[in-house]
Amino acid sequence: MDERQTAGAPAASDAAIVVRELQCRRGDRVLFAPTSFVVAPGSIVWVRGANGQGKTTLLRTLAGLSVPAAGEIVRNGARPPLYLAHANALKDDLTVAESLRFLVQLAGSSVEAAAIDAALERLGVASRRNAFVRTLSQGQRRRVALARLAAQREPLPWLLDEPFDALDTSGVAVVADVIAEHARRGGSVVLTSHLPVPIDAPVPTVVQLHEPAMA
């Protein structure tokens, strides 16, 4: 897999996100060598790199939460991407359904109870919909956080940090299905994963982060 998407790939104007010579910083340390890639609609980009190489920082920068140290990011499309961080963004004192409804409302999507329930059902946590988040296990909380993906229908860019982490095999299969469906609907996905990404339609494009050159 090429590290860079060349000009022969989908035209930059069609792409959801275009990344040119991007470098990110954490503290005063530049994390990776200049990286360029194009996130086209309908594609899955798999960002790979060693621990500490800056995969999470890259996603946060793509989401707009951090400013790049160098290079540029061009985002096409009015609405912000859906960003799934390591942290679940669930409140202990809200019920599962309330937490999911809050996150969906925040993203500006309409909230019907049926859609919320369907998303929870897809991720296998519908039976806990009225339980407080603090009573759930780590894996169940991660499933609730991932239910946002199942509840989201528009072809927005998705930025997913380790979406397969903390899940059992059935959970991994469900999430892989949800991601593949999103890509087929014309959405785009940028994800990080230590485990192999179990999706073959579309085949993920690998973007490898490298150590920055010595100054």
Partner: protein, 222 residues
């Protein structure tokens, strides 16, 4: 933007309702603090009437400061703050919503409870009315400035101490005009000047604090 505001306030109120004991702590502190003064200063009614506005106001300020340190901290820790900041142009709405829900949970109960202490300090009817009016104007200032302090000290280890050191001085104008209005009424003079100045402080704070808070949130999460 107004939907983000409404969604956030509704969520914070719901969270406060689920933790009623925690939400009541500032009021409990306020009650204890105000009740100690007659015991410490002596029950002489003239003295109590004189110190009452200042005592109630200082206790309200301290109660607000104590409850504001966690305003953004839990949302930062569980990743909710990041999700809020992803909403385009929502930073002002977040700052306003946090201050509004803080006032509804802490400031408004203070205003409701204050008349009881007015009676305890043997204040006259007009003085109690002035006390309530000054608190209605002044407690939103405390919530707005407290929210700014919470955002500025977000993620810092000794954030609470730094917050108090930065924000309490900023609250002093509201304290002076608020307590001064009640003292003026108690002395039989017009409190119009005090109310006007307090109103100006409210407007000034309501316009500037959310902008500064939004900038602080941006820095804190970068």
């Amino acid at each position: 933007m107004s939907t983000t505001f409404a969604v956030l306030v509704a969520r914070d109120l719901r969270l406060a309702a689920r933790r009623r004991i925690d939400a009541a702590l500032p009021i409990a502190f306020f009650t204890v603090a105000v009740s100690l003064f007659p015991l410490g200063v002596g029950p002489e009614p003239q003295t109590l009437r004189q110190i009452a506005p200042g005592v109630v106001w200082v206790a309200a300020l301290l109660a607000a400061m104590l409850s504001v340190t966690q305003l953004y901290a839990t949302d930062l820790a569980d990743g909710s703050l990041e999700q809020m900041l992803l909403v385009p142009d929502a930073r002002l709405a977040i700052a306003a919503a946090k201050a509004a829900s803080h006032w509804l949970v802490t400031g408004l109960p203070l205003v409701v409870v204050a008349p009881v202490f007015g009676l305890m300090f043997d204040m006259s009817g007009e003085a109690i009315a002035a006390l309530v009016a000054s608190l209605v104007l002044g407690t939103p200032v405390l919530s707005l400035l407290g929210g700014l302090g919470a955002a500025l000290t977000l993620g810092l280890r000794s954030g609470a101490v730094l917050l108090i050191l930065i924000i309490v001085p900023l609250c002093i104008p509201a304290l002076i005009f608020g307590a001064g209005a009640v003292a003026a009424v108690d002395a039989g003079q017009s409190a119009r000047g005090h109310y006007s100045l307090l109103g100006a402080v409210v407007i000034f704070t309501a316009v500037l604090a959310p902008i500064a808070t939004a900038a602080a949130l941006r820095i804190a999460t970068e």
